[in-house]
């Protein structure tokens, strides 16, 4: 480095060291307090969110007949086909629950694409154009 007076060198490096020290104390001492408080605040916000799906046990309370009659679809959650049931448990009207009777609602799972060995599948030519629920009761 070019020749400078010792006093200038000390002043300059001292200034630099001071700035660095302020940074490190800020980073390791002061800042972690802010991050941990914002994180615990977020956990509270996260926990206060309302669930939109309930449990099958709640459906059982009103729709007991349908519930105990299920054989093949008994392992399928009601809300998997009927959508979110939270509003329905409050308003209890037919417009607050999804009732999809179209073929696509059934073929979504039961179409005979490869790789579906664990369930019964059906080809889409099987009575094409007719709703599946005309012959097959999904709650059985």
């Amino acid at each position: 480095m070019v020749e400078v007076k010792r006093k200038t060198m000390v002043l300059g490096l001292g200034f630099a060291a001071l700035v660095y020290l302020v940074l490190f104390f800020y980073v390791f001492g002061f800042a972690p307090m802010i991050t941990s408080s914002s994180q615990s605040k977020w956990v509270e916000i996260e926990l206060s969110k309302e669930p939109k799906f309930s449990d099958t046990e709640i459906c059982k309370e009103c729709h007991y007949q349908l519930y105990i009659g299920m054989k093949n679809h008994s392992t399928v959650n009601c809300e998997a086909c009927h959508g979110s049931g939270v509003e329905h448990t409050i308003k209890r009207s037919s417009d607050t629950i999804v009732v999809d009777k179209t073929r696509d609602a059934c073929l979504k799972c039961h179409l005979d694409v490869e790789g579906r060995d664990v369930i019964e599948t059906v080809n889409e030519t099987h009575h094409a154009g007719v709703y599946c629920v005309v012959c097959h009761d999904p709650h059985r």
Binding site: V27, F28, G29, P32, M33, T35, S36, S38, Q39, K41, W42, V43, I45, E46, L47, S48, K49, E50, P51, K52, F53, S54, D55, H73, T75, V76, N77, E79, A80, G83, S84, D104, L107, K108, C109, L111, V113, E114, G115, R116, D117, V118, I119
Partner: protein, 245 residues
């Protein structure tokens, strides 16, 4: 400051500690894990729809917190790119209902792999977030502090599994939270609830009597990308070696 902050101050000066910040197992009560059985997944996409409904992700958005990858493979050694067909379902419209998937998969080995955030114990996204918006909870779940996230997208780049994405409306990054607001109330995550075949099972692996512990004990389980050293919490039964990520 309390003792924890003071210890953090001291620990901060030790670079070795600062560099390997995995989640400490010392003070955790539970250790949540999801076990996914690939043999049972039929690719119906109920989990994607349920997750988007539960967690405010727009339905018509291309990305989702959880998604399904369909693999159709013609086994050959060495395998070529044309022998593997991979499709992704992450919207509410099921692409597996379209003709081209049905045509391609006829007669080939086909399976569906549900994927989600692995909530890694040594999560790359937690390590790289500049504002510490991603953090571990005591039970192993990795959460995104959306009030702090500045949207720099470093976590999206760093995640080896592609599990995180930019939320189009909130303009911060988003990812699966294991439905933290549900599991803390004793409910199951939305995707677990919606799965018709029971391919997804969620529970506490530190509890010996839980279903996940039993499944792990009785089956050979694998994780995605073990070589990255992320220690993921999503365990797969029946994972094929062609699922490289």
């Amino acid at each position: 400051m309390n003792r924890r902050d003071f210890l953090k101050l001291i620990a901060g000066f030790l670079p070795a500690v600062a560099l390997v910040r995995g989640q400490s197992a010392v003070d955790s009560e539970k250790s949540y894990v999801m076990v996914v059985d690939v043999n049972k997944c039929i690719g119906c996409g109920n989990c994607v729809v349920a997750c988007k409904t539960e967690n405010d992700v727009p339905m018509d958005f291309k990305l989702s917190r959880t998604w399904i990858e369909g693999y159709s493979i013609k086994e050959k050694i060495p395998i070529e790119e044309s022998d593997i067909r991979k499709e992704v379902l992450s919207t509410s419209k099921n692409p597996f209902l379209d003709k081209s998937w049905i045509e391609t998969t006829k007669g080939r080995k086909t399976f569906y792999v549900p994927k989600l955030c692995n909530h890694c114990a040594n999560a790359p996204c937690v390590n790289v977030c500049p504002v510490y918006a991603r953090f571990y909870t005591k039970d192993g779940v990795v959460l995104v502090d959306k009030d702090t996230c500045i949207g720099c997208k470093y976590c999206i780049v760093a995640c080896p599994y592609g599990a995180t994405f930019l939320h189009p409306e909130q303009k911060v990054t988003d990812k699966c939270t294991f439905c933290y607001h549900r599991i803390k109330k004793g409910l199951k995550p939305a995707c677990v609830l919606a799965c018709p075949t029971g391919a997804r099972v969620f529970g506490d692996i530190s509890d010996e009597n839980s279903e996940v512990s039993k499944l792990v004990k009785e089956n050979r389980v694998a994780v995605l990308k073990p070589e990255e050293g992320t220690f993921p919490r999503v365990l797969y039964i029946g994972l094929d070696s062609y699922v490289v990520e």
